[in-house]
């Protein structure tokens, strides 16, 4: 079994990628503008919910219970789905999932598929695998289409093309759809996509979807989207394949009452999501006549095994943590080197794909806590980031400089006399760099600080020296 998350294995480290991306002023404006709009909408519609905190607690409890009994609920889902006429496949990793999907499509003698809710299939690099087998995938979610036509990468969990603005998209459509003319209104650009996509919907007989929820009790799959393109994908074709991460299962149909309230308000700031498609197996004469579910592990059971960080799998992919994150808002999603960007990506990617290629991600956070505050299922992201840092420390994967620094600091803090000694060394060490009580340049690791900011010099007298002097003076 080999777990891989998109192209995270070959991605540059977070600080390196962030530095480069932040040179792109247009991208930063697009990201800031879009996240700002969604943040404000979310805050408004969450603010009007008197039971929001109770909903969060309930969702967290449902997820916690489900993950503790995932073995049972997955089997229950398989039984329910099979009973309703679906066929359930189990995939340990990306390669298994892709070959199952390709096998189904080839058995139909088809060479094209339409796709919606595409993130999980991005995780396993499905489009590339399909193309290698002579199958052409068409993304039908507007944002995924923009990403696909631009040979681009998604930068946001909910709004994958958030880093593009209207005029960039217009130019892309004209170029890739061969349009000599196209209006500049959003409606004109949407109409171009509509004409392009409708033809695919009516012609291509196989669809691949992701899923927001899989209900164990009924075997139903739920897909939540805003455009109706997803609804067409899951209802028009003859054959439907849903690729579902194993953590998407939920025990009861009524659980959706909780999750659908939380998801729409957190993701897009809408009271109710425009298209909530729920289907159960196959209905003769109505919708797809052949329905497959591929249950995907791809590292999820490894995440599950860690009792501290397993709540990472609670995520319902609303993207609220991305919009709230001051780091994401500076860099955009590509810096995270994974289709899972932002705070949730910073904890999910390194856990799924061991730590070796993504060990800068747990440090891509100031631990400001904004992500935890908005998370609709109450994933304590800051605490998990610290837990992942601890795992890196325990396995000796931090730099020698850092280990030495932390060791020195531990020595200084272990005793008040040591702290005073360290302070004296600091006073001597800073002499060459200090003017008017400020330091403008430091060597070594701290040069990163003084590259952009000044630093106060250690003053002549510490608090404890002042206190001791005062006590002496007070004494009669």
């Amino acid at each position: 079994m080999s777990v891989r998350v998109g192209e995270a294995a070959s991605a540059p480290t977070f600080p390196v990628a962030a530095k480069e991306l932040m040179q792109n002023e247009q991208l930063r404006r697009n990201v800031r503008n879009a996240t700002g709009i969604i943040r404000n909408k979310r805050a408004t519609v969450v603010g009007e919910m008197p039971d929001w905190q109770e909903l969060r607690d309930t969702a967290h409890a449902i997820k916690d219970h489900t993950l503790r009994h995932l073995d049972r609920y997955l089997v229950e889902f398989e039984e329910s789905c099979t009973r309703a006429g679906g066929k359930v496949h189990w995939a340990r990793d990306a390669d298994e999932a892709n070959s199952i999907a390709i096998g189904i499509i080839q058995a139909q003698n088809e060479t094209e598929v339409i796709k919606v809710k595409t993130m999980t299939t991005d995780e396993i690099g499905m489009n590339r695998a399909l193309e290698a087998s002579g199958i052409t995938p068409y993304e039908t979610d507007l944002a995924d289409l923009i990403v696909q036509l631009g040979h681009d990468k998604p930068s946001h969990i909910v709004v994958p093309a958030l880093h593009r603005n209207k005029m960039e998209i217009r130019e892309l459509f004209m170029r890739t759809m061969g349009l000599a003319e196209l209006g500049t209104r959003a409606e004109d650009i949407a109409e171009a996509a509509r004409i392009y996509l409708r033809e695919k919907f009516l012609r291509v007989p196989v669809a691949i979807s992701g899923a927001n929820f899989a209900v164990a009790e009924t075997g139903s799959i739920c897909v939540v989207e805003s455009e109706g393109n997803g609804r067409m994908c899951v209802s028009l074709p003859r054959v439907l394949i849903s690729v579902v991460g194993i953590e998407k299962v939920t025990p009861k149909f009524e659980d959706l009452e909780v999750f659908l309230q939380l998801l729409s308000r957190s993701a897009t700031g809408e009271r109710m999501n425009p298209y909530n498609s729920i289907w159960t197996g196959v209905a003769p004469g109505d919708g797809p006549q052949e329905f497959h579910v591929i249950l995907l592990d791809n590292g999820r059971t490894k995440v599950l095994a860690d009792t501290v960080s397993r709540e990472t799998l609670d995520c319902i992919r609303c993207g609220a943590c991305l919009n709230a994150c001051p780091v994401y808002r500076q860099t955009g999603g590509h810096a995270y080197g994974s289709i899972y960007a932002g705070p949730i990506g910073a904890i999910l990617t390194p856990q799924m794909q061991s730590m070796e290629h993504s060990q800068t991600l747990p440090y891509a956070s100031s631990l400001c806590g904004a992500c935890y505050e908005v998370c609709p299922v109450k994933i304590n992201i800051p605490e998990i980031l610290i837990h992942l840092r601890n795992k890196l420390v325990e396995s000796g994967d931090t730099s020698a400089t850092e280990r030495m620094g932390m060791k020195a600091a531990a020595w200084a803090m272990s005793d008040a006399a040591n702290l005073s000694t360290a302070r004296q060394f600091g006073r001597i060490g800073q002499m060459a760099f200090t003017s008017n009580g400020m330091i403008h340049h430091l060597p070594g690791m701290m040069s990163a600080w003084t590259a952009t900011r000044d630093m106060p010099a250690i003053p002549p007298e510490s608090f404890r020296q002042w206190w001791a002097k005062r006590a002496r003076e007070k004494r009669p």
């Binding site: 600080p15 840092r389 932390m406 200084a412 608090f463």
Partner: protein, 247 residues
């Protein structure tokens, strides 16, 4: 009331004036301050960077130093958050009933400076005089961990002569984040540049906060920009009185 001061390691080392101001305010309000000289650090830096073994030792040291202290005042929201949120986690992980009991007993006795004044001592007017325009940076830990709400703002609004100007995007992190400020220097700098822009928009002379760690980041940027805006811990404003007045 006898109040035990946990100054914090970086206030002790870099910002002694903040500690002096805390002592001034509390004594002016009629309280007695003690300083336990064996104290050092709460362990936050080690904990946040994943050095849990070192952080645990520092927690044990803190418990030794402050085990029998009555009310403990800490002029740093992030250190209080460390004690309140992470000490119980570390204690639980240790499985040591003695440590768990000590932490359970400690946590309710620890107060951030503005919490101590407003919640414990019932004081919103500290009798301060500070004839300047001031804006307030709400540190992430004070906002989201301690949930101090408008306590620091109320304390500032009661200072004579002070003009309070709210800060836009007040819930945004300044980009300090401990080692984040050097490990992710470009992102950290972009974040503090945004914060500095908001501060300059207020036209305030002073930016105050409950955390000198944030102020080191913000002040370091404002100094590099030659912005002329000073950063000051809120205690230093609350300690100020008219020149020549008797404390």
């Amino acid at each position: 009331m006898l109040i035990s001061l946990f100054i914090t390691c970086y206030n002790d080392t870099l910002y002694p004036r903040t500690g002096q101001a805390v002592v001034t305010v509390l004594e002016r309000l009629g309280h007695t301050v003690e300083f336990r000289a064996a104290q050092t650090c709460c362990g936050q830096m080690h904990y946040n960077n994943g050095y849990q073994t070192d952080a645990f030792s520092l927690m044990e040291k803190f418990l030794d130093n402050f085990g029998d202290a009555g009310v403990i005042c800490v002029p740093s929201a992030s250190c209080v958050a460390m004690i309140r949120e992470h000490y119980p986690v570390m204690a639980a992980n240790s499985g040591n009933p003695g440590i768990i009991a000590q932490v359970n007993s400690l946590v309710p006795r620890v107060f951030e400076f503005s919490e101590l004044l407003v919640d414990k001592l019932g004081v919103e007017d500290t009798g301060a005089f500070f004839p300047h325009t001031v804006t307030l940076h709400s540190s992430c830990h004070s906002l989201r961990s301690l949930r101090v709400g408008d306590k620091p703002e109320r304390l500032l609004r009661n200072v004579q002569g002070l003009t309070y100007i709210p800060l836009e995007d007040a819930d945004q992190c300044c980009g300090f984040g401990g080692t984040f400020a050097v490990k992710n220097v470009d992102v950290s700098t972009a974040m503090v540049a945004d914060k500095a822009r908001c501060i300059l928009n207020t036209k305030a002379e002073i930016c105050a906060a409950l955390d000198n760690s944030c102020l080191m980041q913000i002040g370091g940027m404002l100094s590099r920009m030659n912005a002329g805006v000073q950063t000051v811990h809120i205690a230093e404003i609350l300690a100020a009185i008219p020149a020549g007045a008797r404390p």
